[in-house]
Amino acid sequence: MKRWLIWVPLAAFAILFVVVASGLMRPSDTTVHSTLVDKPLPDFRLDPMVPGKPGLASGDFGKGRPRLLNVFASWCIPCIAEAPQLMALKAKGVEIDAIAIHDKGPAIADFLRRNGDPYTAIGDDARSRVQLSLGSSGVPETFLIDGRGRIVRQYIGDIRADQVDQIVRDVEAAR
């Protein structure tokens, strides 16, 4: 028997220890990132959600100006928390469209009356079809689509007040 073999179990233990310790140290990240970032926006066409506001189609994007595509719902609590930040973005000249998930027209109208309406268009995605085609896994999520119709960024979760300035910079960079 070779002498160095006696160290093999200790070495194996050391490797296992490092793997487990680094796993414990690293904060777990369970967010699901869309792999469509840096790819063209998939084709879709959605009916209007509320009277007096157009529905949304992929052809509305990529017309030379970057736009935000917000995935939201009237039943989603973080979406209420996010609303003031979307209003601030709109006030800074950012154009925002939305798709509403699992929702009804009157509920959305009520949501907009209460929390403000930053949207140019809102599409009715009752069965999450467009949400799934975007690789989005929840509400709220926001995609930044550049002037050529490519997805350049995905913001997962509600947009916080301290993210607003960065997003304005991202939008300007996406021209």
């Binding site: 699901v32 069965r127 999450s128 079809r129 949400q131 799934l132 975007l134 690789g135 896994s137 929840g138």
Partner: protein, 125 residues
């Protein structure tokens, strides 16, 4: 409980959807079922879409059934989802740099076992 009942009734009252309705063709339904068991629910990450009660899992089941009914192959549907969510969405991991160890370990361990067995048999002789 009453809230749960109300929710189920509300879901049943809306238009019939493939999220919770089987396909008429049993062969297509079996294909869809097999695929649904191998796709991860993206909001309830430990479950497959076949096992989850989440709205989004129902939407993903509807997507699978609609595409199967249209004649799309399960592999194509899986590929479509992997394009959007990454390999993460599939419970059948492809062979790649990150998963090579996962596939190689059983063979490696078998080899180590054979080697140990061989050397201990030799000692006994």
């Amino acid at each position: 409980m009453s809230l749960f009942l109300a929710l189920t009734l509300a879901a049943a009252a809306s238009a019939p959807d493939y999220g919770n309705t089987q396909l008429a063709d049993p062969r297509a339904e079996a294909q869809a079922r097999a695929l649904m068991g191998e796709l991860r629910c993206v909001v309830c990450q430990g479950q497959s879409i076949a096992d989850s009660d989440a709205d989004m899992a129902a939407d993903m089941r509807a997507l699978v059934r609609q595409r199967i009914a249209k004649g799309e192959s399960p592999a194509a549907i899986r590929h479509w989802l992997i394009e959007r969510y990454g390999d993460y969405v599939s419970y059948d991991p492809p062979l790649s740099g990150a998963t090579a160890l996962l596939w190689a370990t059983p063979i490696l361990l078998l080899g180590v076992g054979a080697w140990i067995a061989r050397s201990s048999f030799r000692k006994g002789r």
